[in-house]
Amino acid sequence: MKTATRQPVRAVDPESLRIVEGPGLYFPHHEFPCTGSRTGQLSRDRRVLRAMIRFENVTKVYDQKARPALDAINLEIDRGEFAFLVGASGSGKSTFLRLVLKEDRASSGAVYVAGQNVATISSWRVPRLRRGIGVVFQDFRLLPQKTVFANVAFAMQVIGKSRSVIRDTVPEVLKTVGLEGKEHRFPHELSGGEQQRVAIARAVVNRPGILLADEPTGNLDPTTSMGIMGVLDKINQNGTTVVMATHDDDIVNEMRKRVVELRNGVIIRDESKALYTSMIPVVGASRRLKDASGREDTAPPATPGSEGAR
């Protein structure tokens, strides 16, 4: 416990965000044994370090006159967790993802990624933060003039990986997402599902600790979507924390993972192994509802006072 308080993390170490593949998966949080977290009170510093993504009372205001996009959000997503972010358009899902990537600054409150308050990351270190985070979008965002291989290799080239490392890694990742033998196709020669697999391969090729997916199945039919979910699940199994914003109720109901529901910038539900729509009628404030939702092993929205609940 003391070690954690004595060593405040000042800079994001990209290694702490990265997952090393292989039999001995590297979980940086092993330094902070889970047993301790279950048995006793954790110091705040330690909780900050253990969580992969942690929002502390985060408010984001785009327009002073309108309501905040995010309103005093407290949320903690642990390393290796798989969480759905659900809610209507405009509920704050995309803002949440943007804050994690430091595309925007929180108006107030603190966002921690891998134990580091992103507000303290200097602009020239932001790329290092982003190397630890993979992102997938609804519209794939592939480069149309590049082949599948080149699209995935691009993500490695631009951060200066050597040609031999690229040659070794890309086929491996393409295999993980189920695109073996399609290295030399162009994006327009692929189906939507396959294109999204390429995008996922690109997002995880640098072994990020976090994968953010912004409605990755929004353009896909249900069967293809389930295939994509299989890929994301596999990546999650390998130790990557996955946060997926989605409207797709079938998928959420099928996966039975943690569900965080946002409405008008407020978390109105945070359940583990949950369904797209809560089985409990949603009335009134969120905090009381969550307490009534009968969660077993989900982290509560992290307010320092509520930590004993875990």
């Binding site: 790329p127 691009f154 080239q157 951060i159």
Partner: protein, 304 residues
Amino acid sequence: MRLAFILGEIGGGLRRNLSMVVSVILVTFVSLTFVGAAGMLQLQINQMKGFWYDKVQVAIFLCSDGATSASCATGPVTEEQQANLQTLLESAAVTQYVNDFTFESQDDAYRHFTEQFANSPIVDSVTPDQLPSSFRINMEDPEKYQVISEIFSSQPGVETVIDQRQLLEQLFTVMNGASLVAVLVAGVMIVCAILLIATTIRLSAFSRRRETGIMRLVGASKTVIQLPFILEGVIAAVVGAALASGTLWAVSKFFLGDYLSQQYPDTAFISPGQTLLLAPALLILGASLAGISSLLTLRKYLKV
């Protein structure tokens, strides 16, 4: 690897934006040619100053038959007046300002005149009598012309004291004016170049926003994202600067060197080698113009 990647990006960008790149090259070429022309004029002025100031300085023209000025009312200079002047020139009051002096007789003057205007019919109508004899003074300090002028102007037998530098100064004024015009034109052209480079880089950044967006997301550093764009502008500007240097060199070699120096064999023109001294300055100027304007543009249009 990263270098190869950046070079590839630059190549792609230049190819995709070819017409804009060509216009950037041409605009920097023209503007830097004007900058270089101004520089050449200044070099030429310095060259001529060095060449002439050693030779011509102050001339004391003595009264001749044709002299019309009031100081020559008594007729042409007498031998006695001339001897007095020579004594005065050798006196301590004057020698402190004078390196040395020579006497140019009317015959000497006529010979120089006929040499200088060998091809002109005016030679036939001039006789040695009409040309004034003179003392040619090489000054210790050319700026002390006033002292000599005051001492000698009022002496009998002196028609006029001329600082020949003043004749040259007129020429230099004209040349300075020309180089000022060149600098002004260059200034306008440089503004054009800066705006054009900014627009080109903006277009280039816009046409590649997909790539740069992905680069941002996967954590490419600012350098890797921005460098290709900046280098694109810099390369175009450097090509323009190289063309401008080449043009200036050609002007000094073929126009000054082969043509003008034959027309005016007495005049020392700058050599092509001297012109090439301007080339590094033009290259650096072009590169920094492009670099700075693309950097500022990117700051606005390419978020990293």
